[in-house]
């Protein structure tokens, strides 16, 4: 399979991949040595030149983000790693940190050195204890081997690294909500501007990066810009983790250059589960408008997915076959957004409250076709009207599902209820007692 790469995943099958000895044996922390010999600005430039874009969903160029930090301002700078992986369908950072926490730490040290931060934080979601353990241990071992703390590798560069466990709030994946949460407040998004690069953590210049973005940095330093840009597409350089889940034969993580298609990924995953066919899928988590079997050959890079009307997001490909009721799927996502709405702004707080009721009625077959238009109008009053993007995410599955599966909604109304058998969609269909 020529399309695949193994950079982030390269050592995952080794039983000690998460230990410092295992990581170092396979060349870990070599990139750090190299980076510390460069000037910080050269590191920033290298990452800029690589074209690495944020892997947390928005795809903002990582090097540019670092470059926004004002230098020589006599203020503390902070690096905060967003490990609050919570977007439905997204499950890449969690296995990455479980199998190889040191690649993140190495990336953190390099990034902090580049932006002149002497304190970095990992904000990790609190519902993954074993991953917390692994990262905790990795930090402890990095301190023991002088990779963290004072005068790292004799470079004169100091860095403290603090692991901070969240406590169950999807909104804290939004970078300003994350910062408020890290400061000990309710995790509600902040007004921007000022942007974190100017006034972030403790109102100091701050870079917030996704785990995978930072974890990609050591390899870029190690292998160079040309190596990285040789992979991927014109504006979406390098490799990334695609996470396939749902009704496929072999779900899992696939590391590949940007621009691979779902058709190719499905092939790796052994196809849709036996006897079924693809119905709809999310390209990058539940907040990205859904695709159908028309979109199998869309290149899964930032531009390709956007051109087809969705977003690459977190490359979380949730695959649903024809046994899945679209209304049920969308209602459940909507319940999620209602549960996770922070409550700060009206359209998200009240809108998700209403949407859940509206969709529940439709699922139960109550209402008329006019209610579908009302639902769309409601989405129009919510998406793009809220404080942050959470409500946009809430509207996306509804709008896109009505675009592709309006008939199925109507079928519920005609049927007076859901025409699907939920058992047929389960993994253990037939084995239910």
């Amino acid at each position: 399979m020529s399309k695949l790469v193994s950079v982030l995943t390269s050592n995952w099958e080794k039983s000690d991949s998460f230990t410092i000895s295992g990581y170092q044996r396979d060349g870990g922390y070599k990139a750090l040595e190299k980076a510390l010999k460069m000037k910080p600005d050269e590191v920033i430039q290298l990452v800029k030149d690589s074209g690495l874009r944020g892997r947390g969903g928005a795809g903002f160029p990582t090097g540019n983000k670092w470059g926004f930090i004002p230098q020589g301002d006599n203020k503390e700078h902070y690096l905060v790693v967003n490990a609050d992986e919570s977007e439905p369908g997204t499950c890449k950072d969690t296995p990455l940190l479980m199998a190889n926490p040191h690649v993140l730490i190495e990336g953190i040290i390099i990034a902090s050195y580049a932006i002149r931060a002497n304190h970095a934080f990992i904000y990790i979601r609190g519902e993954i204890v074993h991953v917390v353990r692994r990262v905790q241990q990795a930090i402890e071992d990095a301190y023991k081997t002088k990779l963290l703390g004072k005068n790292i590798l004799g470079s004169g560069f100091d860095l403290e690294l603090t692991l901070h466990a969240g406590a169950g709030a999807y909104i804290c994946g939004e970078e300003t909500a994350l910062l408020d949460s890290l400061e000990g407040f309710r995790g509600q998004p902040r007004l921007r501007p000022p942007f974190p690069a100017i006034a972030g953590l403790y109102a100091k210049p701050t870079v917030v990066n996704n785990v995978e973005s930072i974890a990609s940095v050591p390899a870029i330093i190690d292998n160079g810009v040309a190596w990285f840009t040789s992979m991927g597409t014109e504006k979406s350089k390098g490799f990334t983790l695609y996470s396939l889940s749902g009704h496929v034969k072999n779900p899992g993580q696939i590391e590949a250059p940007l621009g691979i298609t779902l058709r190719e990924l499905l092939e790796i995953a052994g196809g849709i589960r036996a006897g079924h066919k693809l119905k709809f899928w999310t390209p990058g988590g539940s907040s990205t408008p859904i695709f159908t079997d028309q979109h199998l050959d869309i290149p899964l890079d930032y531009e390709g997915v956007a051109a087809a009307g969705s977003m690459l997001g977190t490359k979380a490909l949730q695959i649903f076959d024809e046994t899945t009721c679209i209304v049920r799927a969308v209602l459940r996502w909507t319940e999620f957004y209602k549960h996770e709405s922070c409550g700060k702004c009206t359209p998200c707080r009240e809108g998700t409250w209403w949407l859940v009721q509206a969709l529940a009625d439709l699922e139960a077959g109550r209402g008329s076709e006019a209610d579908l238009d009302k639902l769309l109008d409601l989405c129009d009053n919510i998406a793009g009207r809220s404080f942050c993007a959470l409500a946009d995410g809430a509207a996306a599955p509804i709008i896109s599902s009505l675009k592709y599966f309006r008939a199925e909604y109507l079928q519920h109304l005609q049927n007076g209820g859901c025409p699907f058998d939920p058992v047929a969609a389960t993994l253990f269909q037939g084995s239910l007692t």
Partner: protein, 777 residues
């Protein structure tokens, strides 16, 4: 606040096609207001940091032709050159966005407007009409909560009405520094609340009721009492302290139903304290005096007609060997002027003192000669504020808010010299210098970093330490710092200006200055004024045989004042029965603040004029004094408040003062404290047994509890544990209260001065600076 940044740069933009130029940093919503374009809003408040939470103010914006992809919250976006804004008036997108938000705000809002206090003056109701769809498309289930929740004894919360604009929580945190109400829970269940065991005990809680844009927060006293459209609103001024708040008094059929903070950016901005807002029932209390009284031979008070009472009073005053006037601190400028002129003309004496409270001769000299010049603006601009014998949160709460604002916004340095570290001092993040009453002179030497941008604020209690007023005035003068003298009561600065004190005539003119007397004689059209400096309060109590009391409570003066007064012939002018009427031979009822016109001078000397809010037959003091003077055939010719005001206006301020009035205090006084002894310290809490708070049970519910405060070391030495009942004794009297460990020096014991079970002035020889013994109760 980003919309209040002062800058020389102006920005020009277009809103709905109209050009407008505003200072850089102005928010779009504010720029629109300037054009008279009203963008609907809930969370926006000009004195709070922008939140962008309600999303009601969405507008379309483009800059130099580049449009934002989606509507923007105009309460969060600062103006820019080349900006073009389209509000709901010119943009269908903005209009639909706003109507969409309004529909969403209403889906969970109850339809209880007919029984809601806010109905008729409700921003949600109003804007739902102006910027909403006529009909809701929502057919689902509305969110409900248990209601109402008492978040304090005076504020009730109806959560289902709340639109979660966070004005109340932002006010509490950003303005009052009392983060006791918070947004709790999340998402659709997010709600305002307190921590169950910790009520919203903020001195400023009423402001949250006032700025709530719906009926979610209501005042316990006003709830269900009136419809806004039945009320007549009158601009007024607060009579409770010298902060000088602009107020609004809402009256229905001659009765005050509520009072609100007025808007005066130079004084109280849009805030006030809970005492100012919720202590007004005294004016309609059962013990109001409604008719004159005369005490008959058997000592019983009997109702009298006005001519009879005036004649009796005139007779007493004319037959006096030594008649004098004592005034309380709550008179208006016009009334105080009436007393001042009455003393000089009708009684032919300078024996008048408005300080019917603790006082000293040094203080009288200070008042006559020092020229306090600080203002709120000086606090805004100060590099350092020093507070001496002054606890602003308790003694002048709006001054406190102003200092806190500067601390919050620009880290103003504050130094506090006080016996204990109060909550206010903590909120101001102040440099705290602990000093007992009587020992502040040493502490003053520790204050450094004073410049001509600094402000020293000294409280009325400074008189309790000999030499303190002198030293502070000298310190301010030597550094060029601004000095502010902040009395507790609203009438004191006016009374001083009116010359209601033995060494001054109106306009701060010294009695002893011949030219000053000529000025006054000219205005009054008389040939002669008494030339002897008048007696002070203590001397009057000792030596005068007939005393006219104007709004005096003997318990404010000393523990012996009432018995001293009972040996004299007393004419009491007052609004209610109390200590003065108990000893009076003639009682003349006067109008309360809401019943009369008048002017207070706040601590800055700024006039705070108000008109009567209710119709009443009661007359202002000055009118009665004029009638009494007529009866005595020594007319003062002040038949109305207006006449008094006109006459006062003829006195310009006398700027000359003497520089050799200072008194040097001693720093070395040793009280020889035994191991169980400490020096008594106290001040009055904002909410206490003050007579104007009588009958306000809801308000009293948020008063801070009476405690006896010691530092930890002292408590341990005395084997006392926090919370246990402790007793302080002196002069064979004692009071008891639970012990609280406070930050202070070991030789200090602190007790509130006038709280339940601790009314020190009427109990001890002095309420501060004396030696008391401390023990288990």
């Amino acid at each position: 606040m980003s919309d209040q940044l002062t800058t020389t740069t102006d920005v020009t933009l277009k809103i709905d096609g109209f050009e407008v130029t505003v200072p850089k940093g102005t928010l779009v919503i504010r720029a629109a207001e300037k054009l008279g374009i009203q963008i609907p809003r809930f969370c926006d408040h000009p004195l709070l940091a922008p939140a962008g939470a309600c999303r009601q103010c969405l507008v379309d914006i483009s800059i130099n032709g580049r449009a934002f992809p989606k509507p923007q919250a105009s309460c969060t976006i600062p103006v820019e050159n080349g900006m073009e804004v389209k509000t709901q008036l010119t943009s269908t997108v903005a209009d639909k966005a706003q109507k969409g938000i309004m529909e969403l705000l209403l889906i969970n809002h109850p339809l209880d407007c007919p029984v809601c206090d806010k109905g008729g003056e409700c921003p949600l109701q109003n804007q739902a009409m102006s910027n909403g769809n006529g009909q809701s498309r929502y057919e689902g289930v509305k969110r409900t909560f248990e209601k109402p929740v008492a978040i304090s004894s005076q504020v009730l919360l109806d959560r289902e009405r709340c639109v979660l604009c966070a004005r109340c929580t932002r006010f509490s945190e950003q303005i009052a520094g009392d983060p006791f109400i918070t947004l709790n829970e999340r998402g659709a269940l997010q709600q305002v609340g307190i921590y169950e065991k910790e009520p919203f005990d903020s001195y400023y809680s009423g402001n949250t009721v006032q700025i709530c844009p719906v009926g979610a927060l209501t005042g316990a006293t006003y709830r269900f009492r009136a419809r806004p459209f039945d009320l007549v609103s009158n601009p007024s001024a607060c009579e409770h302290c010298a902060s000088g708040c602009a107020m609004r008094t809402d009256v229905r059929r001659g009765k005050t139903l509520r009072r609100l903070a007025g808007d005066d950016p130079t004084v109280n901005e849009e805030w006030n304290c809970d005492k100012g807002r919720w202590a007004f029932k005294y004016e309609s209390a059962r013990n109001r005096i409604t008719t004159p009284y005369i005490r008959d031979e058997s000592g019983v008070l009997r109702e009298a007609s006005w001519p009879e009472a005036l004649s009796e009073a005139a007779k007493l005053l004319l037959n006096a060997k030594s008649a004098a006037v004592l005034m309380g601190g709550r008179a208006t400028l016009e009334d105080a002027y009436g007393y001042s002129k009455f003393a000089r003309i009708a009684l032919q004496t300078n024996d008048i003192d408005f300080r019917a409270r603790l006082n000293s001769n040094e203080e009288r000299e200070f008042l006559a000669n020092a020229r306090p010049n600080a203002t709120y603006k000086d606090i805004d601009d100060a590099d350092h504020v020093v507070l001496i014998s002054f606890e602003p949160e308790d003694e002048s709460p709006i001054v406190f808010l102003r200092i806190l604002k500067a601390v919050t916004k620009r880290k103003l340095a504050v130094t506090v010299i006080s016996p204990i570290k109060s909550r206010g001092t903590e909120k101001l993040k102040a440099n705290f210098i602990s000093a007992s009453a009587g020992f502040e002179l040493k502490a003053i030497e520790k204050v450094d970093g004073l410049t001509n941008r600094s402000v020293i604020l000294i409280g009325e209690r400074a008189l309790e330490t000999e030499g303190l007023l002198s030293s502070v005035e000298q310190l301010a003068t030597s550094k060029g710092a601004k000095l502010g003298w902040i009395p507790r009561r609203a009438g004191e600065v006016a009374a001083l200006t009116a010359g209601a004190i033995g060494n001054l005539l109106p306009g701060l003119r010294p009695v002893q200055d011949a030219k000053a007397r000529v000025d006054v004689q000219t205005v009054w059209g008389i040939n002669q004024l008494p030339t002897k400096t008048g007696k002070s309060t203590d001397e009057i109590l000792k030596d005068s045989d007939v005393i006219l009391l104007g709004g005096v409570d003997a318990n404010d003066i000393s523990s012996s004042a009432k018995s001293q007064l009972s040996n004299k012939k007393i004419i009491a002018m007052d609004i209610r029965f109390g200590t003065s009427t108990e000893v009076a031979h003639v009682i003349l009822p006067v109008a309360s603040v809401v019943e009369k016109n008048g002017t207070f001078l706040d601590w800055q000397g700024k006039p705070r004029s108000f008109e009567s809010a209710v119709e009443s037959l009661n007359r202002s003091d000055v009118r009665i004094l004029s009638m009494l003077a007529d009866e005595m055939k020594r007319p003062i010719n002040l038949p109305t408040v207006k006449a008094a005001a006109n006459e006062i206006a003829q006195f310009d301020k006398w700027e000359k003062s003497t520089s050799n009035w200072h008194v040097s205090g001693t720093n070395t006084e040793n009280l020889n404290l035994g191991p169980t002894e400490a020096i008594l310290n106290s001040w009055r809490l904002l909410l206490d047994r003050g007579s104007l708070q009588e009958g306000e049970d809801n308000l009293a519910g948020t008063a801070r509890k009476t405690i006896i405060g010691l530092n930890r070391t002292k408590a341990e030495k005395l084997n006392l544990v926090e919370g246990e009942l402790v007793k302080i004794s002196a002069d064979s009297v004692s009071i008891s209260a639970p012990l609280k460990i406070v930050e202070t020096e070991e030789n200090i014991v602190w007790v509130p001065r006038n709280s339940t079970g601790a009314q020190l002035v009427s109990k001890f020889s002095k309420p501060s600076g004396i030696k008391v013994s401390v023990s288990k109760a």
